[in-house]
């Protein structure tokens, strides 16, 4: 690989990359994002390689087979896309590969069976851009995901990568870069929503050196995997964002903090950094300029609290990951007590586009106070789970129904949980809220890093609060008392509600304790810790009272308060008897069965297997 010494040389190098890419008119893109990999997409890619290495197809070479990052539509995975037509194959299996090669790649025929079927019209849709899941999205941070191989700098350069860096180093002063980022209105995508431009400007204005740039890739919210997808599938856009940031704030050393649970992200980032170093895009005198910058990948042990900036910096420095009070902000006194800019993966992935197209362009997307787009991982009881990116200001209803395709099995919507464990649950009456930083906070939830869990009527809100609180009790660092002891007690009281042991006065006591935890905790984890309780008790108070007054769980979830019985629909199929691990169900074939309540563990196995709706939960 050559060492690029100037922006001009980069332009020449890019020409070569574009020429190389244009050789492949037809491309096969196999999604190797987290969701598809879990469904076996690696085997599908291997099968493609196996067959194509021994088979010659006119106008197609094996180099045009690409293991790409996440396409987002995990629900339909494993996904295979054939470019340039954008033919979108869903639920692909290893045995389908030979057929795809013969029919679509060689024969240019579409295989109907593998196409996406619209559930409303029952029509098959060929191109992915026509599928509602994609057509309602605007992809900026995810712009390259699914378009290029996971870790190939030449492909990244061919589609315009590192152009923003060249522009920055050749034509812009650090002040101009900061001005552009400020003009874009970009706010921190990790959840706090702090203006990136302001943060950069503060850091750049501090005399004390050295300055550090950190990328926060410690995505810890259950069910969230936006940053993972970017780090695995498009690491170069994060690296490019970091180099631009380092130039703006005058830093020579950067760190990417990734959790150890993302092994592929660690490998791909390291590979990408190595590629960038070889080309001279990282290291001394980048593109022949005076600016030098390098990046080190720092692996985290998986503590949720290490996503908090001050705890993260301690962890990077090799200390115990505990937050500190931020009366002096980390941009002034951060890593190794030096001025530090810390941005989230998604924020940094937006930077090259902002430089490329201008801050003003970016600021026109979204709302006036929350500009641009936001990535979400849409999960839970929704038809189309996966990764999405929408302009700020999109309503929850559009996300849940237009993109998400509504609730599974046609059940009623109950709540959407946003903002990760310390976010909140919003009810149906809030579905028309615009999703942006300020609106969600006002409604008692928060943007967070972008986890979005959809719940149906079979979800008990007390149980939801209990689950998230138990997560936070486990993940609290244990440093300050309100968080460590307060959340522990709040969780214990939620358990009491779910078991019918609580009184109405307890609810008040929980609210008071929550208030104290919010005021008294040291870091954001504790301060937002009571949110799962506060938001559910705000919007679903009746459900709490039902548990307390009538010792009943309306959703049929809380084990201590429910009973499984068999109703008259039972036809004696014995499925439940086989499923019951506690031998609590008796009955003969073709005769009604009976559940012995003494032995029943309320695990719900019978309910899950019964095909005849014969199990009642009361």
């Amino acid at each position: 690989m050559m060492h690029i010494e100037s922006p001009k040389q980069l332009a020449e190098y890019r020409k070569k990359c574009v020429a190389e890419e244009s050789k492949y008119t037809r491309k096969v893109l196999v999604c190797c994002g987290p969701g598809c990999l879990a469904n076996g997409s690696q085997k599908i890619s291997d099968e493609f390689k196996r067959i194509l290495s021994s088979k010659k197809i006119k106008g197609f070479s094996i180099e045009a087979l690409r293991d790409t990052g996440c396409h987002g539509y995990c629900e339909q995975g494993p996904l295979v896309i054939i470019e340039p037509d954008g033919t979108f194959y869903t639920h692909v299996k290893v045995k389908d590969v030979a057929e795809i090669i013969d029919e679509t790649i060689a024969g240019k025929k579409v295989i109907e069976r593998l196409l996406y079927c619209d559930p409303d019209t029952a029509k098959k849709i060929e191109k992915y851009s026509d599928i509602p899941f994609y057509s309602h999205q605007t992809r900026i941070a995810f712009r390259n995901l699914g378009r290029v191989s996971q870790c190939d700098i030449n492909q990244y350069i061919a589609i315009g990568g590192y152009q923003a860096l060249a522009k920055t180093l050749a034509d812009m002063t650090p002040e101009q870069v900061i001005k552009e980022v400020s003009a874009s209105g970009l706010r921190g995508r990790g959840g706090a929503g702090f203006h990136a431009g302001k943060k950069w400007a503060t850091c750049a204005g501090i005399q004390e050196k050295p300055h550090y740039v950190i990328c926060n890739g410690d995505e810890g919210d259950p069910g969230a995997f936006m940053d993972r997808a970017i780090m695995e599938g498009d690491p170069h856009s994060v690296i490019e964002g970091m180099i631009i940031c380092s130039y703006a704030v005058g830093s020579n050393q950067g760190y990417i903090y990734v959790r150890e649970e993302y092994p592929l992200a660690v490998v791909n980032l390291q590979k990408a950094i190595e590629q960038a170093r070889e080309l001279g895009l990282l290291g001394e005198n980048i593109l022949g300029s005076d600016h030098s910058f390098d990046i080190h990948v720092s692996r985290g042990g998986g503590a949720f609290v290490c996503g908090e900036s001050s705890a993260l910096m301690k962890s990077v420095a090799g200390e115990v990951g505990e937050p500190r009070a931020k009366y002096i902000r980390s941009v002034v006194k951060g890593l190794f007590d030096k001025p530090t800019v810390l941005n989230n993966v998604e924020s940094l992935a937006n930077i090259p586009v902002i430089i490329d197209k201008g801050g003003e362009w970016f600021s026109k997307i979204g709302t006036s106070t929350s500009t641009g787009t936001k990535a979400f991982s849409l999960v839970g009881k929704v038809n189309n789970s996966g990764l999405i990116e929408v302009p700020m200001g999109t309503t929850l209803r559009e996300i849940v129904y237009d993109i998400g395709g509504g609730i599974r099995d046609g059940r009623p919507f109950k709540a959407v949980q946003t903002g990760g464990p310390s976010g909140g649950c919003l009810p149906e009456s809030k579905l028309d809220l615009q999703v942006d930083f300020d609106t969600l906070t006002k409604a008692g939830s928060m943007m967070g890093s972008g986890g979005m869990i959809i719940m149906d009527d079979r979800t008990c809100m007390v149980d939801v609060a209990k689950y998230f609180l138990s997560f936070l009790v486990d993940e609290s660092c244990g440093k300050c008392v309100p968080c460590r002891e307060g959340l522990y007690q709040l969780h214990a009281m939620t358990v009491a509600v779910s078991e019918g042991r609580a009184t109405e006065a307890d609810i008040e006591k929980m609210e008071k304790l929550s208030d104290m935890i919010v005021i008294g905790s040291l870091c954001g984890l504790g301060k937002s810790g009571p949110n799962p309780f506060l938001s559910t008790v705000m919007y679903f108070r009746d459900e709490y009272l039902e548990h307390i007054r009538n010792k009943r769980c309306p959703a049929g979830v809380c084990r201590a308060l429910i009973q499984y019985t068999i109703n008259e629909k039972c036809n004696g199929c014995m499925a439940c008897i086989t499923a019951c691990a506690h031998h609590a169900i008796t009955g003969k074939k073709k005769e009604p069965h009976f559940i012995n309540q003494e032995l029943c563990d309320k695990c719900g196995a019978c309910y899950a297997v019964c095909q005849h709706d014969a199990i009642t939960i009361t």
Binding site: K479, Y488, Q489, I519, G520
Partner: protein
């Protein structure tokens, strides 16, 4: 100099000073359990929280740990506002649920009118309030023999792998500075047992009383360049020797003056 108001009284402080130090110097009583003069403020016990505001904040106020908050010009501080007292009560109530048998916590809680915890007592709760003074002071001494292990509610103070700590020298800094006295040690004349390790105690060459551990003396003479012989004599005998020396000097001077 910075001028600020604490509980209605105008006071002056040096730039960079922390609120807690200023409040205490001015005679305002603020409780704190994780604060120790020898080590950096930590902000874990949350008892030293105070309410702060400024005229230009237009009625908005904030709650901060005074141990960590640097004084600011025109700051208005309330050390005992209703919310602050409620917060301290809650914190002590929570601590009491964890350490019901600690006399120190019981007494402090009683001062705030909390005689019994209103929460479910923590199963297996001990009297450690996880203030971190022991681990931080151990680090400050240069040993880092113990640290906090685990996180959240299961966090404990322990040596690495919960085995006898190889870096411990038996200096007792952890145990003697523990606000709830939960780090036990045994001195039996010639040996000291702490954290599962047994240390030899040096006997004073003059009076025979035990002084400090051999490991601690060796470490001090190595890192602080103090002659090893210095530790062979106990503090008391050192003082006696100094007074004898000073006495002889005085006698000698008197003689010389004659």
């Amino acid at each position: 100099m910075v001028e600020l108001t604490i509980n209605g009284r105008v006071v002056h402080a040096n730039e960079g000073e922390m609120l807690l130090a200023v409040c205490r110097r001015e005679g305002f009583r603020i409780p704190a359990l994780c604060h120790h003069e020898a080590i950096e403020p930590f902000g874990a016990c949350r008892l030293c929280m105070v309410e702060i505001t400024k005229k230009e904040w237009k009625g908005w106020s904030n709650y901060v740990t005074s141990c960590l908050y640097p004084v600011e010009k025109n700051l208005i501080v309330l050390t005992d506002s209703t919310k602050v007292i409620e917060l301290r009560k809650t914190v002590l109530d929570l601590q009491l649920a964890r350490c019901p048998n600690s006399p120190e916590i019981r007494q402090l809680a009683a001062e705030y009118g909390v005689n019994q915890t209103s929460y479910e007592p923590v199963v297996d709760g001990d009297n450690c309030i996880l203030c971190g003074i022991c681990t931080r002071i151990c680090e400050k001494m240069g040993f880092s023999a113990i640290s906090t292990v685990g996180r959240g509610h299961d966090k404990v103070v322990a040596p690495p792998l919960k085995e006898a700590p190889p870096d411990c020298v038996g200096c007792l800094a952890c145990s003697l500075n523990c606000p709830t006295h939960v780090i036990p040690y045994i001195d039996n004349g010639s040996t000291r047992i702490i954290w599962g390790r047994t240390f030899e105690l040096i006997k004073c060459s003059k009076c025979g009383k035990p002084t400090i551990t051999r490991d601690f003396a060796e470490s001090l003479s190595k890192t602080k360049s103090i002659p090893a012989e210095y530790f062979e004599v106990c503090d008391e005998c050192h003082r006696r020797e100094i007074s004898l020396t000073m006495g002889s000097i005085a006698n000698w001077e008197r003689e010389a003056a004659k």
